[in-house]
Symmetry: C2
């Protein structure tokens, strides 16, 4: 059983020192609460609403930055952190990235491949599919925020064996009908069920430069049901038996992955498609 | 604006004569209610819980059966029916099929490609991807029931220009947490939003040989929200501006389809994948 804890934080825009303290404390508190895996939001080290690329550069960090060691220092054997950060790449470009960190430091870094809105003015999109990391807790796939809205991506992670998909996010609040969940959570629920995988989405909280956030943190089981959320700053937590994600049978004659008919799905990897606006 | 009417019926197992009357009346009633498109459940002509392949053969019909002309006779110019039927193929095999019918008769037939449970003992899976039919109402994609749970399929239909995806269904009732929608509807909501398409799911009602049905009929708009449902036997109805499905922009810099990174999605069309149980 793995305890997954999402820390719905309020990073401070452009203030690396404050966010360093905030995130180290958040990791520590989650570990005290028994976390095996601590998930922090997208761009937890930098905030989100940059006024310019220059402002993002001013808080961007490389993977050599001591902050990753500070997170690692909070972890016992086998425990993990996944957190979003503003990455200064070796190529001089900025990436909206997430690091998976264990006691020894960074295990892997993923660079967001689907950029939302003004991110396109600041960041370069990643050029590698999201990773699946084999850990002592189980196999963990990593996506970031808007990535989660592409069902191709979550399916691909499941096909590569992910038991749990984690999604550091910053979800700007959008209108929704009364009584409905955030639409991003509906997408995550459907992805969890379609692929029989656990999904943990860690959103942020607190307004930033006129943007309100969804406070949509959600822990979703392998059947697609939300089992934990949190309002405002704080933790959402769930104990997941990640082994359950490996049995894909849906009954005596069905299997969530083996029932696929990939020979009939060629449309979705075609580089060109019918222009739907015609 | 197109009025889509789902008729949540209770077909009688193995009784073609009764279902003929039931479906013709259902089409007529929907047209009286102003329907431009009438959607009936999966296997509306035959019922679902066959005890044997022989029983299914006894109510299977070819596409030459006069029933299709009887549905057509209820339609004014431009109006359409999509309904599931138990098809006796020219190859001597049975298919779980759906026909799109206009005033002149059958326009297209789709054979379900993802078979659920005991359907595998009775039916042959189709070998063609689901169609997108260009009609006076808009471009209509057709899937059947369990097909809808494969996000590859709904994505493919959107890429081929579908404005509305219709899904004749028979959803056996499954457990779900209190207050939750049927999981199949959650999947449809996510597919509608991810692809910015309208989706109409027409479920059936009334127990059949010990199987209870979900009564999950749902009309879902292009933003992914349920706008109409129905309890028990009867109609769910919505007026959809199908043109709205053609604008895929999600804001000044994003587009539900153009933001895809198909060069990074190769996993999902690979014929082989990591066995997740290892």
């Amino acid at each position: 059983m793995a305890r997954v804890v999402c820390q719905q934080l309020a990073p401070r825009i452009g203030d690396l020192a404050a966010n360093r303290l905030l995130t180290v404390n958040a990791v520590r508190d989650a570990i005290v609460a028994g976390a095996d895996l601590v998930l922090l939001p997208e761009l937890a080290t930098s905030g989100y609403c940059f006024t310019s690329r220059e402002e993002a550069v001013s808080v961007a960090i490389t993977t050599k930055h001591p902050l990753f060691e500070e997170w690692a220092a909070e972890l016992g054997r086998g425990a993990l952190v996944v957190a979003g950060f503003c990455e200064f790449g070796g190529d001089g470009l900025l990436y909206n990235s997430a690091a998976l960190v264990d006691q020894s430091g960074i295990v892997t870094v993923y660079r967001k491949i689907h950029l939302w809105d003004r991110e396109k003015l600041v960041f370069q999109g990643g050029e590698q599919p999201p990773p699946v990391v084999d850990t002592a807790l189980g196999r963990i796939g990593i996506v970031i925020c808007y990535d989660l809205e592409f069902p191709e991506l979550t399916r691909g992670l499941a096909l590569r064996g992910a038991d749990l998909i984690v999604a550091p996010s910053n979800w700007p609040l959008v209108d929704r009908p009364a009584g409905e969940r955030p639409p991003e959570v509906v997408a995550a629920m459907a992805a969890a069920r379609a692929n029989h995988v656990f999904i943990a989405c860690c959103d942020r909280t607190s307004d930033e430069r006129g943007v309100s956030w969804t406070n949509g943190t959600a822990l979703i089981n392998e059947l697609g049901w939300v089992v934990s959320t949190v309002e405002g700053e704080g933790m959402a937590s769930a104990d997941f038996d990640l082994e359950q994600a490996r049995a894909k049978a849906l009954g005596p004659r069905n299997d969530a992955l083996a029932d696929r008919r990939p020979e009939l799905y060629s449309d979705i990897t075609d580089r060109e498609h019918v222009d739907a606006s015609v």
